[in-house]
Symmetry: C2
Subunit: 219 residues, 2 copies
DNA sequence: AACACACGAACTGTAAACAGTTGACCACTG
DNA sequence: CAGTGGTCAACTGTTTACAGTTCGTGTGTT
């Protein structure tokens, strides 16, 4: 997804490392691996049916994504988030997304951008009655799209580096609380603000959205 | 540096992986490994005197830091930056540091923060006549301190993830150009803005600083 | 009963070997 | 001479084995 090879054919053969990465990410952000839990390399490599070397590469990546925290002797454990950290994460997220909308506002032709964003909002609306997980996915997809459309690869990459932490925040706070932030209207406001081209307005809208989201999560 | 073990004693025994990481980072950001160059694992592991397994862990991290880009079949090469990417990187950096100063402005007791920042500026002043490399270091140290003092670990981590890219930008543009941004006055302005507690002013000061910096680099 | 020491299990750090795939070079053929 | 098929070397993905370190545990002594 990051700097991936173009899948010329629909077939995309993922390496074992990537499979392990996805599996672990899911396990952590779903709470299957509870926060604070100590991870034993041999245990995991047995569980995932891969060798330790391969596993360690994946663990390094998760560590950098902030899903794991390193203990005294290189011992890894699932990161534990408290309220302050969640607020911190959302503050950084707000800064990034605020840059995103500002950039989008300054774009010469916003028409195609608006179109893409609208379809993302529509996807959210369509998922409104779906499972909680799917609603979260469509919400994150909207915000990721916000970053992607800027064409700023660094911005997108930074946001994606934060995505794991965001998911952990949601998991930690409980999905029910998180879904309160998924209002379609609220997201439509963001798109509308971008459409006007008023960077200040767009920025304010995003910052408020994030403030509310963080407040809902830690409340 | 990131989530490192507390070095209870001054002695910090770095693992081979961390040593390799530093060595590679230095080699890349110094231009010793020129942009676009293909990296061969066996070659590097020979050069660094470490095994491939250990090396690969370090490479994953560098990849995530944006210093390496992945080619067709997992082949890594040193990332090549163009003008747009440099501007993009500095836009993200600006967003992060702007959050930093805003946070610092809202801090209850800014006195100790100001003290720390002043000593960082003093360090820059002291290095004003030193080598170009040292001036760059003290400059980056100042900005890193900005993020660290907020107490927002996520912010600091995000900034550090970007640090490699920032160094590459500097290298790519040529150190001589980069040093133009190192004016002590300019940094003192930032500290002064924080001292007033005026978040808007502080933010503006940082954004301008970054704009100028990016402009100098790609000019 | 408390302390000291030694043994042992559990893990991480590191190295070396194996397997599979791709791309290039070269000979052979129409 | 162009095109084709095949062999070979280079690299990455992955696994297995080994070394070193730390922490707990149990035993023996005072």
């Amino acid at each position: 997804m990051a700097g991936a090879t173009a899948p010329l054919l629909g077939l995309e053969k993922k390496s074992l490392r990537e499979q392990a990465l996805s599996a672990l990410r899911t396990a952590i952000t779903s709470g299957e691996l509870e926060p604070g839990r100590h991870l034993v390399e041999t245990e995991l490599s047995d569980m995932l049916q891969i060798s330790r070397g391969t596993l360690r590469e994946a663990l390094r990546q998760l560590e950098q994504e902030g899903l794991l925290s390193a203990g005294p002797r290189g011992r890894l454990s699932v990161r534990h988030l408290d309220g302050k950290e969640i607020r911190d994460i959302f503050a950084v997220r707000a800064a990034l997304e605020s840059l995103a909308v500002r950039t989008l506002c300054e774009l010469p032709d916003r028409a195609s951008v608006i179109t893409s964003l609208c379809s993302a909002v529509d996807a959210m609306a369509a998922a409104a009655e779906a499972s909680l997980e799917e609603r979260i996915e469509s919400d994150l997809e909207f915000h990721r799209t916000l970053c992607r459309l800027t064409g700023n690869e660094t911005l997108l990459h930074s946001w994606e580096s934060l995505e794991g932490s965001i998911r952990m925040s949601i998991m930690f706070a409980g999905i029910e609380r998180a879904v309160k932030n998924m209002s379609v209207d609220r997201h439509h406001d963001i798109v509308a603000a971008i459409e006007t081209g008023n960077a200040t307005l767009a920025r304010t809208t995003v910052l408020e959205h994030m403030d509310v989201a963080a407040a809902n999560l830690v409340a």
